[in-house]
Symmetry: D2
Subunit: 400 residues, 4 copies
Amino acid sequence: MREKLVLAYSGGLDTSVSIKWLTDAGYDVVACCLDVGEKKDIEAIKEKALQVGAVESYAIDAKEEFAEEFALIALQGNTFYEGSYPLVSALSRPLISKKLVELAHQVGATTVAHGCTGKGNDQVRFEVAIQSLDPNLKVVAPVREWKWSREEEIEYAAKNNIPIPMNLDNPYSIDQNLWGRACECGVLEDPWAAPPKGAYALTKELEDTPDTPTIIEITFEQGKPVALDGKAYSLADLIMELNHIAGEHGVGRIDHIENRLVGIKSREVYECPAALTLMQAHKELEDLVFVRELAHFKPIVEQQLAQVIYDGLWFNPLTDALKAFIKSTQVYVNGVVRVKLFKGNIIVEGRKSTNSLYDENLATYTSADTFDQHAAIGFIKLWGLPSKVHAEVQASLAEK
Amino acid sequence: MREKLVLAYSGGLDTSVSIKWLTDAGYDVVACCLDVGEKKDIEAIKEKALQVGAVESYAIDAKEEFAEEFALIALQGNTFYEGSYPLVSALSRPLISKKLVELAHQVGATTVAHGCTGKGNDQVRFEVAIQSLDPNLKVVAPVREWKWSREEEIEYAAKNNIPIPMNLDNPYSIDQNLWGRACECGVLEDPWAAPPKGAYALTKELEDTPDTPTIIEITFEQGKPVALDGKAYSLADLIMELNHIAGEHGVGRIDHIENRLVGIKSREVYECPAALTLMQAHKELEDLVFVRELAHFKPIVEQQLAQVIYDGLWFNPLTDALKAFIKSTQVYVNGVVRVKLFKGNIIVEGRKSTNSLYDENLATYTSADTFDQHAAIGFIKLWGLPSKVHAEVQASLAEK
Amino acid sequence: MREKLVLAYSGGLDTSVSIKWLTDAGYDVVACCLDVGEKKDIEAIKEKALQVGAVESYAIDAKEEFAEEFALIALQGNTFYEGSYPLVSALSRPLISKKLVELAHQVGATTVAHGCTGKGNDQVRFEVAIQSLDPNLKVVAPVREWKWSREEEIEYAAKNNIPIPMNLDNPYSIDQNLWGRACECGVLEDPWAAPPKGAYALTKELEDTPDTPTIIEITFEQGKPVALDGKAYSLADLIMELNHIAGEHGVGRIDHIENRLVGIKSREVYECPAALTLMQAHKELEDLVFVRELAHFKPIVEQQLAQVIYDGLWFNPLTDALKAFIKSTQVYVNGVVRVKLFKGNIIVEGRKSTNSLYDENLATYTSADTFDQHAAIGFIKLWGLPSKVHAEVQASLAEK
Amino acid sequence: MREKLVLAYSGGLDTSVSIKWLTDAGYDVVACCLDVGEKKDIEAIKEKALQVGAVESYAIDAKEEFAEEFALIALQGNTFYEGSYPLVSALSRPLISKKLVELAHQVGATTVAHGCTGKGNDQVRFEVAIQSLDPNLKVVAPVREWKWSREEEIEYAAKNNIPIPMNLDNPYSIDQNLWGRACECGVLEDPWAAPPKGAYALTKELEDTPDTPTIIEITFEQGKPVALDGKAYSLADLIMELNHIAGEHGVGRIDHIENRLVGIKSREVYECPAALTLMQAHKELEDLVFVRELAHFKPIVEQQLAQVIYDGLWFNPLTDALKAFIKSTQVYVNGVVRVKLFKGNIIVEGRKSTNSLYDENLATYTSADTFDQHAAIGFIKLWGLPSKVHAEVQASLAEK
């Protein structure tokens, strides 16, 4: 009897060819088509899978789950890999893996397949996630295995009546979801060259952006954005709406020379209009409501969270512990942030919160001042005491 | 016999009144006027000190020393306090302290004075630095001691023939040096209000910036910017030139709710056109030339360096050790970064270096690829092994 | 009407004198006598307070609360300040503060008082904790205020019929609770001198310990020790029992030159037989059950947790977040640890757990080996790739 | 023409068989026999290599270089992997790699070989180090490649006249150098079983140790131990002497469940009498001479240094930067530490230093006290201000 295999199916050439290749290899291929906000017609993709040979095909709308369970913690954790990359694809991989494993259990599959090559991060993320969710499942990576050139792949597709996309000469490799869009390859491989216009899809060129800013108020409840200009949205809808609004102003471009988990540097171009806007707004709200000690340690946790997500360790107990830290802090992050989007800039103009720790009467230099300036003298004395004792010892040694 | 006291003299009302007040308190006041890039006429300030009662007055141009010994390590250390503030005033305080102590030794003073109030960070930075440089020097802080209202201070000045500045109703408190300009008080004390135009001096409003970008190439040698568009500059001159160029494009504004060392939150507005441009360019050059492991740990050191500088611990052995770490890494940071300054944006368009670790033949998806994709299989197996074993144990426990 | 004040009352000279001094200062003093495991007769102490002038007196047994809410997280967080001090007094201060505030609310007091001097950490811990629990309460520190010499204090006591303890010439200052005993002062002030026998009370001299070891099995459930040699104990009882058992073997002495929060170095001698034994056992159990990534990051969180506890920041949101991290990890920490206590040594001889990630079939060098040695080749290739590319670039630069 | 290969030759069965196996594979094998303090007769080993087929053989005494360049930084960096393992083998691998590469260059070899299997850390350390030193050298790992059982290996040895050691039934796998001795395998593979006596060689059983302690004074200059009881030693000699002295007292045993870089947990038994004694003494001297801020951050650097050494990244720029940090701090680490070695315990009884920051007049509770207790009031006010403001806001929200 043939084994069942669940394939993460995108509708593109690689995974379409994979259906045939895996069928030839002895599997009954079940296609799994996911929508995590890349704005594609998953019902059509689901149909296509059947046309090219899948025995079953499923379309899953995972946008809200992606927003609530993955994008939200990235936002609350202010997670930027290497200070630059907001973890777009890295965030969707564990969700897709989870759906693949669930579907494998549902249809009785022994094996799961993904369409990654052997030099990217995503193969690691898929395989480690799948192993963590069900260590008994086998994983196959047809594109990594067949080692064909582009020409050989097209020839195989033609021979097997697999539709060949018209934009085959598109020089870019793209991945997209609610949290942003990643683009690599082509001219981008020269780090001295500026990315051409064609590398971008979600954001306008600065030259083409409106001459009047958009000013928007974002409402947060417990660290979660819940409304734009007072209008409530589901999280996925809010992100999609903000991608549109901020993208119009050229907001969200990132050009990053990145250290991949597999050991090489690559040059990546990202567009994350909503993600960057929300992360900036959220951080400034935290600046207002977080006690100093928390504000100073959270970045250590944030950096580690970004690292484990990038490194494919979503389903690792360390990630759970880092999330527990972050979640514990978000109870204070309530309020409204007023953001001006203009000419590529995200300008936080104002922030207010019932949890605000900014105390005008302490901060003011006016006569309303309630700060005890005399206390500073004692504070400085003890704060500087270790430095002073050190200096005294050094001075006495220098004299000798 | 009267004791000699060296006063950090800015030429403003507070320190002018301090000369008289300290003289009344029994000191012979020696004024010390420093230029760290705030674009003021220090010779005139030096004269003014004598007019209001100083017994001696010195003008010191410390711009290059500030650039080389303080701003440079801040740049190389990518130091932002709380991820936002590039440490403008925090950087100049240890240098000013050093000059005060040197002058005290030179003129035989027993005491040093600064013009800070009792609720800011700068009093801590001055006093800890001075104690660290000479634990035997006394420190006096007349403004913190006299506790006058603004009106009482003006009355005292008038009575003592101390010139009262005409812009007394300027609602802002300003500090400026090569690395930027800090502005607080007034309307800024409401964190929901946007900073008014008048809070800014070094940067144009976005609406008033040119419609064509400036593209500039910055050359780094061992982590130090040495040329703009191929033209060599001293570091201080390069920073001042870039402040002008970038400020024209509205680059460099920061609006920060900040946790002060003395325990309160304050709202600060900074302008750092050159600092932000250089830090962005320098970081992207590091992205190109740093080995991954270094790139991932340096931020921990950077955050700590920002903290100790902010906290007034410049002359602490920890700072020396952090600097030794940073300096050891900069030997690789050679190359050119091409930056587009436009409408408030700092866009790094390209970077190149003889130390570049970006290897097009490893990164490419073309046939030039030299990356061993097969190695990824073994890598994933061992990278994910801890997660897998953990999952196996959890699965077997769940079954029970 | 006189204001009511709640005083943390220990029964010693300082706090007994404080009752009178505070009464003279206009307060009605309510004594609060707590048992956190220091093995004293709190009912007698409660009576004594009334004898020396308290208007009300309360005795509270807080041993189990101290064990469950304070010692347990210190154990699970493996918290050692500066790698040495298991936070004995630092842990009890927030609990005592909480009880003082609760009692103040109960009896309608406006003020709380503690018996600390002005140069230790505990004054900071008490006052920050009390302010965090009720910012409206006033705090008084009579010992810090009266500034008497020992002789003046005794004279005052004699004049006011306050009983003077017979061991007044005891050269040590002691604080004790379930988690250990702290001793400072006297001959200990010379860091070159060895602590004399008299500095110790819970642990035998090595020379006097038994010549046969005690081997004990400690059972942990979710990171909490629940049984010794299979016999269940409440946490407080387990700690007290283990203090006795381990102390007999000379286990638990610590001699630490410590950086106080108030800026000085002090020399402290601690005895923590149970705490050190439990922390060693717990850590080794974590070594068995934690996935690598968690094992490598948790120490960063542990160090920060030790710091905030030492620094008196128990009721700070950062502490809550650190605790959330730690608690999330303890679900895996189940099992038994076999410890040999002998001649001052805590030797973990064996550990076992249903959550063990140690897989003999992976670790073995016998023929049962299931580890894929071939995978190592790919792993090494990618693990070392950044180093290799760096080396290639450096080599090519060196050639030039 | 046959290619030349340099083999790290230990004289044991694996590397002896490797000489023959590599010769059969077409290489001219040059044996490289290193002494890093494992107390073996390297001249005899050198001869043996020639007997079993090496074309050339070299014996190198690298003890002092190992001590000065590798063990010393491990000591100064207080490096314990996972808080337990003092990096014994991990430290020698980069030195051996360096010697192999130097010899390869000297004799004109194209290839280097080591005797590691495919499941340990050492293969990674050797290969990454060799690639970092000369990316053009090939690396061969015969034991990993031949995949023989123990019986097959012995059969091959017998057939090829390779001497078979008499202790073949020794169940342990041992690695040893100045810094300690590592032992794995056999009964140790059960983490519940106590290590048997036979697993140890450098340390006496506690039951067999002397009943009188040895008290020894260790002198440090700039963080380097230079004398024992006032008698000067070279560093390698000092370590060897101390291994003997401390081992007699049963000092230095470590039993560690360890996370290997290749993804598995293993159980390792180490003996490090000198290393543990020196690290304890050195740490306590740092406690005396380090300013608080340095003492609190250095552990972060230490943990990272332990990690990179364990992970085989010695020749990585991150390691250089971490070393620069550590080295910058050691200038203060001068003085004498008095250590009592007794019944397995390392008891630091006293420490003194011209750089001591311990100030008896600040620390004392006697009348010599110079500490300004009044300053504490101001300090506490500002230290606790963030917590207090947070509490006020929470209280006011709770009321609503």
